[in-house]
Every structure is written in C-alpha cells, then in structure tokens.
C-alpha cells in the first residue's frame, strides 16, 4: 500500500513541478538554517568534558585579603585562590577527587636544546589527569609522594612527544621546562575541553577549549621558573605581576575543581567549603564575608558568558524561521490538497476509509519533507562553510558531523509529516457525497 501511495505521490509531484519546487525549497531553507545554528549550538552548549565535567564543580569565594575601595562589593563569583588556599582545599580530601589548576604557556625543549615546542599546559596541585579524565597513552600520572617532594616530573601529550623525540612513547625521557630538567612519566592523548572552562573570568572572547599539551605539578614548575600564564589577582600593595610570573605568592591564581558524583556528596561539600572560607574570614585573612559557593561546570560557563549570546540568539532566530517555513508550507500544502478534493471524493466513494486518505496524504508530505531534507544537506554544508569563513570566535565549531546528518534526516521527515497533518486532516474530513458534489 505504501508503495502505491509513494508512486501516487511521485506522479502528483510531476504534475506541478514549480509548486513542488517551491514547497521543498522552503522546507530546505528552513531546515538548513535551523541545522546550521543547531550544529554550532550543540558544539558549544554541551558539557566541556563529556562524561566528566557534569560531575565537576569549581569553588568560588571572596578571598580578597585587603580592602578594595574601588569595588567593595563582591559582584561576581570569583574562582581564583592563592596556592595556600587551593592546597588546603585539595588536601582536605572531602570530595571524590579534587585538584587546583592554572594554565601556563611555555617552551618545552630537549635538554640539549636541539628541539623545542611552544605548549599550553596545566600547572596542578592534585591529581589533574584523573580528575579531568585526561586519557593517558603511556606511563602514569604523578604520585602524591612525587608532588610532596616537588619532584621534577611531567606528563606531555603525544604531539609534543612526537615533535621532540620523534616517537609518541617518550616515557623515561627528559625535557627542559624553564631552568630545570623534568622526567617524562606519562604521555597523554591530545586533549582539550570542547569549550573553554579554565580561568574563564580573565578570558575574553575565547570560546573553543585550548589543547592542554603538558601537565606538571605546580610547585615543581614554579621552582623551575615557569609560572602561570596570568598571575591573576595580586592585591593592591604587591608589585603588579602579570604574565608567566613566578612571583605569585601574593596572588590568587589557581582554581580549585572538585568531583562530586552524588547529590549527597554535593550537599556535604557546600558546607565544608563555606566552613573553610568563613574560618579564614574569622581569622582575619579574608576581609570580606566570603560567600563561598560551588558552581557546576555548565552553570559556571553560563554565568561567565563563555558562549556568546549571539549563538543562542541565532539558534532562536533559526528556530523561529523554521516555524515560519512550516506554517508557510502547511498553508501551501492545504491549498494543494484541497484543490484535489475531486480525486479524494472518488477514492472515498470507491471504499477508501478516512484513514487511508489521511495516510496517503501523509506519505506524500513525508516524501516532500525527505526531498527537502536532501536539498537541505548541501545548504547546511554551505551555511556551515559560511560560518567558518566568518571572523567569529566559535567558527571552528561549525563542523559537519554524522550526528548532524542524523538529526537533519529526522528533522526533515518530521517536518514533512508535521506540516502534512493539518492539510491531510482537512482533506479527509468532508463526507464523500459532499466532496463529489463539490467536484
């Protein structure tokens, strides 16, 4: 039966080609606009670290140790901590996993200076690789003992390993980081958060996550003369330390991330964090009420507007546009179907049930939707290409993927059926006798 309906639909499409073209093109443009916006939205709105970041929380508190006359109010939650506070939170071991990190940018070279690579990485206190779920290709992460003794050990990613040593398995080799020689104890697979998640308060305009190419215990790195990329907040009296400084004792430059798997753990950690911060305030270190609070990764990114508003606005614009196209096509389809009331009446008189007529018309609109989807495919590709050409920070997110294809297919058939429901229902509603009379 379906096969017959399909042939019927095809032959009808051939009868009025311009009209059919108008219908499928309208659908295709609507679907393509929506798919383009949705591809970017999906790439940017999901978890920065799938499977991991939904359990990660960042600690925020007003940890200022001097009165700031210019901005006494704590307007925006602040995630930056001094190394001492970060250490205290990590060493308390009150979460499933905890780590304090800061981003760094430096040269990593062979000890003889023959090869070197510019690399972004994380300086960490605590098990950074485990907490962020960084996949290790070779070797192992550093141990607590190594961290406690400030041992010069480092984990690099396969790309740095390949560049420096010509092999991915660089475990056991030595690299120069700053002034010191570090032993490579592990090699990680290339890793980057899908969306920027570290130090987002200071980050302006970066949306896509930066690839982290090395991981190193923070103190060992400072000892070697490699500091964080940004020294963060350094108090009014201290000399203004800026980039790559190791004079960070007076600065708040680390972020503490904790992993909490269950609501019970989350409920328990909040009071612990508040308790720690309040104790510092009571002891006179933090001059303002700390207002300590945990933020989930997604909530933290949303709060700091990491993903530009434009992405959301464009998604809504595209959604509204698709809706308009749907109403438009539904209207044109209704006109098209109702013009053929005569044919329907004859079918009804010959014994076809209302249901048969309904299904027949739905098959036709489904087919049109599918054709629209096929046409939308190159249009979506074109849309994504145009976005990639744009000077926007999220241009790299506009990539065609298998997921996009599946959604597009589903959307087009869904759209085809959806727009057909009203017209198909209208056309099978009239009683056959009246339909024949009308014809």
């Amino acid at each position: 039966m379906l096969d017959y309906y399909l042939r019927l639909a095809l032959s009808r499409c051939r009868q009025n080609v311009p009209m059919v073209l108008l219908l499928v093109l309208t659908m295709a443009v609507g679907i393509a606009a929506c798919m383009t916006a949705m591809t970017i939205f999906r790439a940017l709105s999901g978890a920065p670290l799938p499977g991991v970041s939904p359990h990660l929380y960042v600690a925020t508190m007003d940890a200022r140790e001097a009165v700031d006359q210019d901005s006494p109010d704590y307007k925006r939650p602040d995630s930056l901590l001094k190394l001492a506070d970060a250490k205290a939170l990590v060493d308390a071991h009150r979460a499933v996993q905890q780590v304090a990190v800061a981003q760094s940018l430096t040269q990593i070279g062979q000890p003889d200076g023959s090869q070197s690579a510019q690399a972004y990485g994380l300086m960490a206190y605590g098990p950074a690789l485990q907490a962020f779920g960084v996949p290790l290709r070779y070797g192992r992460p550093w141990t607590e003992a190594e961290q406690a003794s400030n041992a010069p050990v480092i984990v690099i990613d396969t790309e740095v390993a390949q560049k420096l040593f010509g092999t991915k398995n660089a475990v056991g080799r030595s690299v120069m980081l700053g002034r010191h020689r570090f032993r490579v104890i592990g090699v990680s697979a290339p890793w980057h958060p899908r969306v920027q998640m570290f130090d987002v308060q200071h980050d302006q305009g970066t949306v896509m996550g930066q690839a982290m190419m090395f991981f190193v215990p923070a103190q060992a790195s400072l000892d070697a003369g490699v500091g964080p990329f940004l020294a963060g907040e350094c108090g009014k009296d201290a000399a203004v330390a800026s980039f790559q400084s190791t004079q960070v004792a007076q600065c708040r430059w680390m972020e503490a991330w904790v992993r909490l798997d269950t609501p019970a753990q989350l409920d328990a950690y909040g009071p612990f964090l508040a308790g720690y911060a309040n104790a510092q305030h009571d002891a006179g270190r933090f001059v303002y009420p700390p207002q300590a609070k945990l933020y989930g990764t997604q909530a933290w990114l949303a709060l700091n507007h990491v993903v530009p508003d434009d992405v959301h606005l464009n998604m809504m614009l595209a959604g509204g546009f698709l809706l308009l196209c749907l109403v438009n096509v539904a209207g044109l389809l209704a006109a098209r179907f109702l013009r053929r009331q005569g044919d329907v009446a004859i079918r009804r008189a010959l014994g076809a049930s209302k249901r048969d007529v309904f299904v027949q018309h739905l098959v036709e609109t489904g087919l049109l939707g599918l054709i629209g989807g096929v046409l939308a495919l190159p249009l979506t590709w074109l849309g994504l290409w145009i976005v990639r050409m744009q000077p926007v920070s999220y241009a790299a997110a506009a990539q065609f993927s298998a997921g996009v294809f599946v959604i597009l297919f589903g959307l087009s058939v869904g759209v085809g059926l959806l727009v057909g429901i009203l017209p198909a229902w209208r056309v099978c509603r009239l009683p056959p006798a009246l339909q024949i009379k009308l014809a």
């Binding site: 430096t106 464009n314 614009l317 308009l324 196209c325 006109a335 744009q390």
Partner: protein, 411 residues
C-alpha cells in the same frame, strides 16, 4: 464590508494560516532588524581617528614577569618618535579598536550628578597621534604629557579631553570646558578638569547597552605605571612611508623590550585601518547574516500569502462570477480582494507586534539586550501591509478577470 468578513469567518483555515504567517514573520523580522540596528552602531559611528592608514600601532606587547618600568617604555616611545617619517608617537594604556586592555569607569559631572560610563585612554600626545579633531579648548601641555602616575592614573586629579557626545551627556546645554568630571562615584573620586572637547573618539569595547555610549571617551595625559600591556602608536607623515616606519618600529620595540617579552606571544604591528577592519569584521558579518535572514523571512511570507490567496480566489471563482453577473465591476472585485488581504494581514500584524514585544521582553531578561523601541512598530506594520498588498496583487487581478459568464456554467 460584511461580504468580506463573513466568508473569512466561515472558512477559517486559510485566513488563519495567513494571519499566523504574518504574525511570525513580523515577530522575527522586528527582532532581527532590531539586533541588526544594534550591530550597525559601531560600523556607522565615526571613530574620530584621522587618516587610519597613517597610524601604526604596536600592541600585544606582553612582559614576562613584572611590567616594564615607565622610563624604559618612555625611552622606547622617544626612539619611535625619532624614526624618520614619524610625526607623532604615543605610549598608551589602551587603544581604540583594541580590547586586550580596557579602562572603563563610571564618570560623574561634578555638582550635577549626571553619570555616564566612559572609556579612558591614558597616554602622551594622543590627540596628535590619533589625529583627533579638537572642537574646543586645547591639547595637553608638554608638562602634562610628561607626568608619570603612581598607578594607572585613575585616582589622580588633572586635566582631561572628552568627546563631544560625553560633554553633551554630562553637561547638557552648557559648555563643558573648565568643568570637572569625577572618575567614579565615591566621595574621594579623582577630579579631572575638561580642557578640550574632540569631535569623536570611539570606545574600544562596543557594548550593546546604550547607543550613544560608543562615543563616550576621555583622554588623560601622562604615563601609567605598572601597566602590564603597553601600546605604542605612531603617526607617519604619508601613507607611502608607512611600510618603512612599521619595519623600523618593529626593530626598535624588539631591541628595547624584546628580551623581556613572553616567549611565544609576538607583538602585532598593524595600521589602525587594519585593526579597525578586524574589529568590525564581526559586527559586519552579523549585519549580513541578519539582513539576509530578514530578507528571506519576508520573501517566504510574500510567497506564502500569494499561494494561499490564489487558492482562496480559485475556490470562489463561481461566487465572483455571480457577483460580476449581478453588476459588480472589475474594480470592485479587485478592491474587495485587496481589502480582505488588508484585514487578514492587519490582524496578523497586531498579533505579530504583540509577539515581537513578548519575545523582546523575554530576550531582555536573558541577554544583554535593550527594549525594542516603539518606533519600530509603525514602520514594521507599514512594511508588512505593503508586502501583503504586493503579494495579493496577482491573485486579485486574476479574480478581477473572472468573466460573469462563469456564474452560468454547470453546477
């Protein structure tokens, strides 16, 4: 009128679909055009900088560890000025069309209490280097330019040059020269006396909060201490010399500051024109996108109205024939179809305007958007009505051509 309204009420589906389409198109187009207008602000507002091709800027100069002492930076600026072909050289904290470093403050007209958010550019010889047009007052003196602040300079009293837009905002209906602007709203905020007013100077960050805001800027003379990312600008005598000067500039900055720069972050040496192009590329792209979307939305709507109306007319061919046989002229039929379209589209516009406003209110709660101005509504309504009439023209003419003899044909 009754003979137009009645059939619309009896056969509700077709007119309802048109109403819905017009309403949706209205809501989308109003909001898209509103966003577009906001993106246009920095593109169409003059930035005040004269001869963009003759201004070369060195930025993204990041020190490793502590910032350079002001004396070192001053020395570099002096050497830049000595390059043949350079007319004026400046050392500044921030620069138009560059957002890496920003100084913004709430400034208050002393005594009057009128507040505004303004961008502050601190540096020496900025008026000449930026090529600003001085409307009133004077440039900073050599002594004022030679000042070195203890910090950034926001807490120090002194002279300032402000834009005309900011002057009008802070001192409405009066001369701003000689008046005092407080930098911040605290009781002990610094006092800056206005010594000059320039035509325009764009702030380096374009917010979407207020349209006038983009031209609210102030200049302070002197040099900031402990400023992490200094910016150098030089104005060259002619565009022809720009390439040579740029090369010499790079050599000077590298020689003086290179050893203390962060490895892996290279300074940029660009003409101001290129910086402007780069900075405006994003709003320009958004303008293209939004205008494209608005065009397609309107096109789709016109096509939709056309398709539905021609079916609606075809349906009533016989009634039209009867009316013609009973004496209605072609003009009557044409006008009836047009009037009917006017009614339906009008209903859609009313619904669409309400929808546009609701969407705007909702967006305002979630994003940094301002209220949709009322002035959009009559223009939007007029545009939609015209488009509706355009769309109905061909079906209406076809209806008018229905001969009276149709009425007598088979039933």
């Amino acid at each position: 009128m009754r003979h137009i309204v009645k059939p619309l009420l009896r056969h509700r589906m077709m007119p309802l679909l048109v109403v819905l389409q017009v309403a949706l198109a209205c809501a989308i187009a109003c909001n898209a055009l509103f966003l577009l207008q906001q993106k246009l602000v920095p593109i169409v507002t003059p930035d005040g900088v004269g001869h963009p091709g003759r201004l070369i800027v060195a930025w993204n100069i990041a020190p490793r560890g502590n910032p350079w002492p002001p004396a070192t930076l001053r020395q570099t600026a002096t050497e830049l000025h000595a390059i043949p072909g350079v007319v004026s050289a400046s050392l500044a904290t921030s620069w138009p069309m560059e957002t890496e470093a920003q100084l913004n403050a709430t400034v208050v007209a002393d005594g009057k209490g009128i507040k505004a958010s303004a961008a502050i550019y601190i540096g020496d010889h900025l008026l000449d280097t930026l090529g600003l047009r001085l409307l009133a007052g004077r440039d900073f003196s050599a002594g004022e330019d030679a000042l070195v602040y203890k910090g950034a300079g926001l807490h120090t009293d002194g002279p300032t040059i402000i834009t005309q837009a900011l002057a009008r905002r802070l001192f409405p209906g009066g001369d701003a020269l000689g008046k005092v602007v407080r930098i911040g709203d605290q009781a002990n905020a610094a006092r800056r006396t206005v010594v000059g007013v320039v035509a325009h100077l764009m702030r380096n960050e374009f917010g979407q909060d207020d349209r006038e805001d983009v031209d609210y800027s102030m200049l302070f003379p002197g040099t900031a201490s402990n400023w992490p990312i200094p910016i150098f600008g030089v104005r060259v005598r002619s565009t022809a010399e720009a390439a040579g000067v740029r090369k010499a500039m790079k050599a000077v900055v590298q020689r003086e500051l290179g050893p203390d720069m962060i490895q892996g972050i290279d300074p940029a040496y660009e003409s101001y024109g290129d910086m402007r192009e780069r900075m405006l590329a994003q709003p320009k792209a958004a303008v293209w996108l939004l205008s494209g979307v608005s065009m397609i939305v309107l096109l789709v709507t016109v096509v939709g109205i056309m398709g539905l109306t021609s079916y609606w007319v075809q349906q009533r061919t016989r009634q039209i024939g009867v009316r013609r046989a009973l004496g209605a002229r072609r003009g009557n039929i044409l006008r009836d179809v047009q009037l009917e379209n006017l009614l339906v589209v009008g209903a859609g516009i009313l619904l669409g305007m309400a929808l546009a406003y609701a969407i705007n209110l909702w967006l305002m709660q979630r994003y940094e958007l301002t209220r949709l101005p009322w002035t959009y509504l009559p223009y939007g309504a007029l545009l939609m009505l015209l488009l509706g009439q355009l769309a109905v023209l061909s079906p209406a003419l076809r209806a008018a051509r229905v001969p009276p003899v149709v009425a007598t044909r088979s039933v």
